[in-house]
């Protein structure tokens, strides 16, 4: 009930560039829920939109940023974390959020992901995982579940997948979480905790591509797809994550890892200040 009370003073329209509506996401796409959950978290945290920078890559996820009434950067394919690294190092006063996708983040951008995790700059990375390259017509991605049909796996996917959260944790991300679009309040809370976390935060958002992925695999209408998320997930959270393979099998949601590690930007600035003091003194 508390969540419902909090919804009432959040109007997503306050945070959107309404002149760009209607948006171009397909009907039933889960990315809108992810976007709304992010803005809801931004609202609750009271972040000044002038100081909010949203950095996106290429693909369906990459096009979500433009709708946010903040400083938005639509960069090159796979590279938003690298752009965000420069932006955050140059402008530590900005809240930097990266919105990326499973292809953008794990395939072409995989190298940047692991090094962003390792560096531990105070950036929040939302990876919208819909298991497919939607923008280019539905090709297989590094998270496409086994046997799924895509336009480049016409006989069903035979490649193994990544568990992005385990990858991020192993690479050194100091905050790792996963949530489904079915549970917007929980997703909002996770994103909020990720932004509040001082260090690199990786959040995997399980989003549905109904028009392409759902259609090709006969997963039903968008309502059916989003309802099926419930049976796919185990809301155990930190400490209780079961060792399970990826969707459509059961997988953990919530905060999956949280480590106290020095935020890199502050470490660099403190060391630089010491050097300057030494030079001047």
């Amino acid at each position: 009930m508390n969540e419902i009370a909090r919804v009432s003073d959040f109007d997503v329209k306050d945070y959107l560039r309404l002149n760009l509506m209607p948006h171009f996401m397909c009907p039933g796409c889960g990315h809108g829920i992810a976007l709304r959950s992010l803005l809801w978290a931004v609202h609750e945290l009271g972040i000044d939109r002038n100081k909010l920078a949203v950095v996106c890559g290429i693909g369906c996820s990459g096009r979500t940023g433009a709708y946010i009434d903040a400083n938005t950067f639509h960069t090159t394919h796979g590279r938003p974390l690298a752009f965000a690294t420069g932006l955050k190092l140059a402008r530590p006063d900005l809240t930097v959020v990266v919105i990326t996708g499973d292809g953008d983040c794990l395939a072409i951008g995989g190298n940047h992901l692991i090094h962003a995790c390792r560096r531990n700059l105070d950036i929040t990375c939302l990876m919208l995982n819909n298991e497919i390259y939607g923008m280019t017509g539905g090709q297989v991605s590094p998270t496409t579940s086994a046997t799924r049909v895509t336009s480049t796996t016409p006989a069903g996917n035979t490649e193994p997948t990544f568990d992005a959260c385990k990858l991020a944790d192993a690479a050194g991300a100091s905050f790792v979480g996963r949530e489904v679009t079915r549970q917007a309040p929980a997703l909002k809370n996770l994103i909020r905790a990720a932004i509040e976390h001082d260090g690199f935060s990786f959040v995997e958002v399980m989003s549905d591509c109904t028009e392409i992925y759902g259609r090709k695999n006969e997963l039903g209408e968008s309502a059916e797809m989003i309802l099926s998320q419930k049976s796919d997930m185990v809301p155990d959270g930190l400490g209780n994550a079961p060792d399970q393979p990826f969707r459509p099998n059961r997988m953990a949601t919530g905060i999956l890892a949280r480590h106290a590690r020095p935020e890199y930007g502050r470490t660099y600035r403190e060391r630089s200040a010491e050097l300057r003091a030494g030079t001047e003194g």
Binding site: N50, A66, F73, T76, A82, T85, G86, I114, R276
Partner: protein, 380 residues
């Protein structure tokens, strides 16, 4: 304070110049023969409250540079052939989104891994045309350590002035050459800042056309919440596919350079007034050519040198004027023939154009250039 003399390596001069020009962000990836620039920046930037970061590759390096520049910092990276190849996509992004940045490309033998410790001039065309699509770019080509210092500062100034990526192109010899450099006194260096929006302008459009075609830039946090995209965009920064708007957007960023050539062009000419044979060369090849001109003049052969310091856009007008009375033009370059195509385009049929090429990782000596000129004169 007066100027001071220092014995400096080319790459070190580049780093010192960048900081003097106001560079406060460097992102890079180790690569021979440019690494000394990163090493110097890693030492110096923290001392001026700047940021150095070694990224995971050259793609990320230029991305981080553009990110920092979008945040308001003057930013640069330094690399060599293989790394420059990896940077091409983001270089196009900077050109398209009009984000100032400076890229140092120290040329080594290529293609591929080539000869990492040997000099070459094989990236002359890549520096202009490496990224896909029509795009604006400025490339400067210093020929001495002193000039590396001056041209690195000018690169930052041009980049800020025109909101365009600027490439500083030199080779392994100049990078590692140690020469006496006269450094100007602190405070005497002319630096240029990009046109910043105050953040309070009514109806601000981030890509609105101005008199000089260079739009005013908005800094995140100052009030304008802007959108930046590599997609073809309108004056408000948002994507468009409308033919008239798309054509206008591309033509403006191209015209921005062409219409401001007077501020961009820089050509050195030696003995070209009465020259019957004009040598056209850049960088280390031009230094050999300068000596060759002296040798030839002492023999009574009327040779001259045209050296584009701003290599791109190519100095058509200056070259056309300098070769108006020439019977032959020689283009010595440390590649299989790149600059010569531009020279042929400009000179046309008005003079015989010949090349002198070397691709073995060694510089072209003055005597070889002088001998080639003698042959051209004998053929007339």
């Amino acid at each position: 304070m007066s100027s001071s003399l220092h014995s400096l390596q080319g790459n070190k001069a580049c780093a010192l110049a960048a900081i003097a020009a106001g560079c406060r962000f460097f992102a890079g990836y180790p690569i021979t023969p440019s690494s000394e620039i990163a090493e110097q920046m890693s030492r110096d930037l923290p001392r001026v409250d700047g940021v150095f970061v070694q990224m995971e590759d050259e793609i990320a390096s230029l991305a981080a540079v553009i990110g920092a520049s979008l945040g308001g910092s003057k930013a640069m990276t330094a690399t060599s052939g293989p790394g420059f190849s990896l940077m091409q996509e983001n270089l196009g992004f900077a050109a398209m989104t009009e984000v100032p940045c400076v890229i140092i490309n120290v040329m080594r033998g290529g293609p591929s891994t080539g000869m990492p410790t040997k000099p070459a001039q094989g990236d002359i065309m890549q520096a202009r045309w490496g990224t896909h699509g029509d795009h604006p770019i400025i490339v400067v080509a210093p020929a001495s350590v002193q000039e590396v210092y001056a041209e690195t500062i000018r690169a930052f100034n041009l980049s800020e002035r025109f909101r365009v990526p600027v490439v500083v192109l030199y080779d392994q010899i100049i990078a590692h050459l140690i020469e006496t450099v006269e450094l100007p006194p602190k405070g005497s260096i002319h630096t240029v800042e990009r046109k910043w929006a105050s953040g309070t302008e009514e109806g601000f459009k981030p890509y609105a056309e101005t008199d000089d075609l260079v739009p005013v830039m908005a800094r995140p946090g100052d009030g304008h919440r802007l959108h930046v995209t590599g997609l073809t965009h309108t004056e408000d920064g948002f994507p468009t596919q409308k033919p008239d708007l798309a054509a206008h957007a591309l033509n403006r960023i191209l015209d921005k350079i062409e219409r401001n050539r007077a501020e961009i062009d820089k050509v050195e000419q030696i003995e070209t007034k009465d020259a019957g044979t004009v040598i056209v060369a850049v960088g280390i090849a031009a230094r050999a050519a300068r000596r060759a001109v002296q040798m030839l003049r002492s023999e009574g052969i009327r040779a001259g040198l045209v050296r584009p310091v701003t290599l791109w856009p190519f100095p058509d007008e200056a070259l056309r004027a300098a070769t108006a009375n020439a019977r032959a033009v020689l283009v010595p370059e440390m590649n299989a023939g790149q600059l010569i195509h531009e020279v042929q385009r400009v000179v046309g049929g008005s003079a015989k154009v010949a090349g002198l090429n070397r691709v073995d990782g060694e510089p072209i000596p003055p005597a070889a250039i002088a001998q080639k000129v003698r042959e051209l004169v004998a053929d007339e």
